[in-house]
Symmetry: C2
Subunit: 128 residues, 2 copies
DNA sequence: GATAGCGGTATCCAAAAGGATAGTGACCAT
DNA sequence: ATGGTCACTATCCTTTTGGATACCGCTATC
C-alpha cells in the first residue's frame, strides 16, 4: 500500500508521465534504432539493413524525430565524399534501462501467449 | 561491455523481444487502463471517466484486446441488473514495473524537453 | 561508359488508429 | 411517462502510420 502506485493522486500523475513517455517512444521503430546504435555509431544504410522491414523513408523520418528529441546525433565527416553517421547521445542512455526491461518483459510475454494458446487448443480438443 | 546489451547477437534477440513488447502494449491507451485498474476493479463507465479523452468505442476495443492478452478479466455479477467490472489479472502484475519505469522516465523526459526548448529560445535571443 | 553504393527524397497508396456523434435495450428513480 | 445510468455498439470520418516503388545527385569502381 505504500509503494506509491496505489494511491489515487499518484495514479493521475502517473497517467500523465506514462503518456509523455509513450508519446516520445511511440511507433514500431524508435527503440529498435536505439538498440542498433548501442554498439556504436552506424551509417544510414547500415541501420536500414540491420532493422528488418524498415524503409528508407521511414528510417529517415524516425532519425529526424529522434534528433529533435535529443536521442541521436547526426555527424557529417568533412571527407570527400561526405560520410554520415548517427550515434546515440549521452541522454539516450536513460533509455537503456527502459529497453532492458521491455526486452525482458517481451520475452516473458511471448512465452505467456504461447502458453495461453496452447491451453486453448487443448481445451478445444477436449470439447470433442 | 559485459552488461549483455553490447554484444551483437544479443542486440538481434533484443530487437525481437522489444518488438513483441511494443506490439502488446501499443497505442495510447492500454497502459493507462492498467494504471486505473491498479487501485482495484472498476466498472466500464468509471474507467471511461478516469481516462481523459478516451471514447467508449475505443475503450471497449482496448478492453477486449487486453482480455485476449490476459491482462484484464471481465466479471459479470449475477445481480439484477447485471453489473460488469474489470480487474487486473495476476499476470498483469508483470506490467507494473514497466509502468513504474516508464512513468519515471516520462517525468525526466518532460523536463529534458522543456530544458532543450528553453535553451533554443535563449540561443535565438542571442542571435539578434 | 555501365554499374553499384551512398544518403537520402518524392509520390502514391493502404491500413490502422482513433475521434465525433448517435443510438440501443435493459433497468431505475421521480 | 420522462429522464437518467449502465455497458456498450454503429456509423462515419480524419489523422497517423507506414509500406512500395521510383528516383536524385554524387562518387567510386570495373
Amino acid at each position: 500500500m505504500k509503494d506509491g502506485i496505489h494511491r489515487q493522486e499518484d495514479c493521475l500523475a502517473r497517467i500523465g508521465s506514462v503518456k509523455d513517455a509513450l508519446y516520445a517512444i511511440n511507433g514500431k521503430w524508435k527503440l529498435l534504432v536505439v538498440i542498433t546504435l548501442i554498439d556504436g555509431p552506424r551509417r544510414f544504410n547500415e541501420i536500414e539493413r540491420s532493422i528488418e522491414g524498415i524503409t528508407p523513408k521511414v528510417l529517415s523520418k524516425e532519425l529526424k524525430d529522434m534528433e529533435l528529441n535529443g536521442f541521436v546525433k547526426r555527424i557529417e565527416s568533412h571527407t570527400n565524399p561526405v560520410q554520415v553517421t548517427y550515434e546515440l547521445t549521452p541522454y539516450s542512455d536513460s533509455l537503456r534501462e527502459v529497453i532492458v526491461l521491455l526486452s525482458a518483459w517481451g520475452t516473458k510475454h511471448r512465452t505467456h501467449i504461447l502458453e495461453m494458446s496452447r491451453r486453448e487448443n487443448t481445451a478445444k480438443l477436449m470439447d470433442k
